[in-house]
């Protein structure tokens, strides 16, 4: 017997309806905004993105010194001398301009590497978690071996044999490849774990028993429900990638001059550290605070997206 709709509507029961429905993502956003450090980090990253996008324009219009031009009249000067707000380096190049232009390398590495890792780790993790069996076994054995070896050493070995010449974004390709190669394993393992636990939940069971095809099941149920931890892992991967690129540059096997990068600037500044300590301090702080900003964002996202952390 069907209830007449009108009768239900007519019975004006005062249901307790919350003022507004809050979904998971909206709730996460509210929680993220409440985390002051995370907002600070997000602000800093936004500022850096603006700097990276705008500084080539500023150089083009002459508002910012050319990062490659050598000012022979002021070599290794401290901040504020001869109109160089942050001083100059050992070749007389403007430190502020080099810092601002150098941000594009760090940000590109940090953000794009995650774009490479995401599809690879996701696909393999989903396959291993959902289908299990041989794919799963292979992945797990592989990760065991992979975890026994530190990222930095592997990236160094790869970069020592595979280098490309050309503009900085071409030189970045081997570095991208090396970092992605060491990082997709962690993501795949995480996705696998998520899928394994969600696969047993009742709603997946219900969907499966009502005849949902596997692909739809993965895309509609497994993927959206494991997205939170995936986003957090990818966010924490950003500072890691930036760190690896900076270390490569610092060790002299990263992006080659003339393109300035922060790691390379620390290395250059190191050669004349007694004459001009600020040449080391500025790029070092730029790297440190960028990494700090990303890890604040990561912490904020984890607190916002992980329901088990709720207090």
């Amino acid at each position: 017997m069907a209830l007449p709709v009108a009768a239900v509507e007519a019975a004006a029961i005062d249901w307790e309806i919350p003022e507004q429905q809050v979904g998971l993502w909206q709730d996460a956003w509210v929680r993220f905004r409440r985390n002051r450090l995370a907002v600070l980090g997000a602000g800093l990253v936004l500022f850096l993105v603006l700097v990276a996008l705008l500084s080539p324009l500023l150089v083009h219009f002459g508002l910012l010194a050319d990062p490659i031009k050598q000012h022979v009249e002021s070599i290794e000067t401290g901040p504020g001398v001869n109109g160089h707000a942050f001083g100059t380096d050992i070749l007389g190049r403007d430190t502020l301009a080099r810092l601002m232009i150098g941000s594009e390398v760090s940000l590109t590495v940090g953000l794009l590497v995650q774009g490479i890792i995401f599809p690879i780790g996701l696909a393999i993790g989903l396959a291993a978690g959902y289908f299990g069996g041989r794919v799963d076994n292979l992945l797990m054995r592989f990760t065991d071996i992979w975890y026994a070896f530190p990222d930095l050493l592997f990236v160094l070995v790869v970069v020592s044999v595979w280098r490309l010449t050309g503009p900085w974004y071409v030189q970045l390709i081997p570095i991208f490849g090396a970092i992605a190669l060491v990082n997709w394993v962690g993501l795949a393992r995480l996705v696998r774990g998520q899928v394994l636990s969600i696969k047993e939940k009742e709603f997946v069971e219900a969907a499966r028993s009502s005849g949902t095809p596997p692909l739809k099941l993965i895309l509609k149920h497994l993927l959206p429900n494991s997205l939170g931890p995936i986003i957090v892992t990818l966010t924490f991967g950003i500072p890691n990638a930036i760190f690896l690129e900076a270390v490569l540059s610092f060790l002299g096997v990263g992006i080659q001059p003339p393109q300035p990068t922060w790691g390379q600037m620390v290395l250059d500044g190191y050669e004349a550290i007694y004459a001009n300590p600020s040449g080391v301090v500025f790029p070092a702080l730029a790297i440190g605070f960028t990494l700090l900003a990303f890890s604040f964002i990561g912490d904020g996202l984890r607190d916002a997206l992980d329901p088990r952390m709720r207090r």
Binding site: D144, I145, A148, F149, P150, D151, L152, L153, L156, V157, V158, V159, S160, V161, W162, R163, P239, F243, A246, V247, F250, L251, G252, V253, G263, V266, G269, Y270, I273, Y274, P277, V280, V281, A284, L285, I287, G288, L291, L292, S295
Partner: protein, 342 residues
């Protein structure tokens, strides 16, 4: 277990089985350790295969000079012959494996007439000294800070400790090293007129060690402190801790006898990653402070494409880390009787 009907015969399995049950943990521990040791073999083998393949598909040859006159073809051929590079790749690989089994990693391309084993032997004391000192600093400081922060949760002590840990975990160690050099070598030298400062680099069993060891240990300290804090927080919520307080034990005893003992079990697992941190850290710290250890030698080998040296150090590093992980796993089984041996 099959049920044996009737009176057991002489030498039946029954008594043996009883002792077997009581000894089972020790016995399966033996099997576990052997399995873990055997597992190291494919790990190290895989590392060798990967690095070997990478090295031999590298563009250019190790005899390429950076600009200027190149070596003549005759010289290159002779060098290739000397270092066995004229043989087929598969044969080279088998030869290399065979040599590795005999602790022979070949001759360095970079330093004429020196073997990789000699070079590693020369660098080893420096790296081991810094690593050991850092390890001795990491364990007490990391655990101490973590326990302190947990016992004073949500106070200024907690916030200060965790703030420090976040900073130390985010700032890369070459940045920390460079900033420390600026602060403690360059600026203090200028301010005190050369009276009180730390040396910016070089080697010596004295104040030369202070900055490298601190730089190397900051990241693992932060990592250990965070994990100890989380694990201690979990422990002090347990019923047996409430019982310990309730029976009137003084704080010192509650902390040492009950909290520490139980919260340190998961902390043991961080010792594995700590070794990995120390190995990768040595690469950076030895470069920053110009210490002639293995890490520095690895960087030099990478920049000059000294393939035997890269292969040798990589294999050595992977053996060190795999051994550290093995020890941690076995230690864990000993400390925590709840761990299942699989």
């Amino acid at each position: 277990m099959a049920v044996i009907a009737g009176r057991p015969k002489r030498g039946a399995l029954l008594p043996k089985r009883v002792t077997a049950v009581t000894d089972s943990r020790l016995g399966s521990l033996g099997v576990f350790v052997i399995r873990r040791i055997l597992w190291m073999i494919p790990v190290v083998f895989f590392v060798i295969v990967i690095t070997f393949i990478l090295m031999h598909n590298a563009a250019g040859s190790p005899w390429d000079k950076a600009g200027g006159r190149q070596l003549s073809q005759v010289v290159v051929d002779n060098l290739n012959k000397k270092y066995g590079l004229d043989k087929p790749v598969f044969e080279q690989f088998l030869l290399y494996l065979w040599n590795v089994l005999h602790f022979d990693f070949g001759l360095s391309y970079q330093y004429q007439g020196k073997s990789v084993v000699t070079l590693i032997g020369e660098g080893w004391p420096y790296t081991a000294t810094i690593g050991t000192l850092a390890f001795l600093l990491i364990v007490p400081v990391g655990i101490g800070l973590g326990v302190l922060a947990a016992l004073r949760q949500n106070t200024r002590v907690d916030y200060a400790t965790m703030g420090f840990a976040t900073l130390a975990a985010s700032f890369p160690n070459f940045v920390i090293g460079a900033l420390m050099v600026v602060l403690f070598s360059v600026l203090t030298y200028k301010w005190t007129g050369g009276n009180f400062f730390l040396p910016a680099g070089g080697w010596g069993i004295d104040d030369h060690l202070i900055m490298p060891v601190i730089t190397l240990s900051l990241l693992p300290i932060a990592y250990t402190a965070r994990l100890t804090r989380a694990s201690t927080l979990e422990t002090i919520r347990q019923d047996y801790i409430r019982t310990a307080w309730a029976k009137g034990l003084p704080e010192r005893l509650v902390v040492i006898r009950h909290v520490l003992k139980n919260s340190l079990i998961p902390v043991v697992t961080t010792l594995g990653p700590t070794f990995a941190f120390l190995v990768t850290g040595s690469v950076i710290v030895e470069t920053v402070f110009s210490i002639p250890g293995i890490g520095r030698a690895f960087v030099v080998a990478v920049t000059s494409r000294d393939y035997p040296m890269i292969l040798g150090t990589t294999v050595l590093f992977s053996i060190v880390i795999a051994t550290a992980n093995l020890i941690v796993d076995v230690l864990y089984v000993f400390i925590d009787p709840r761990v299942r041996l699989t």
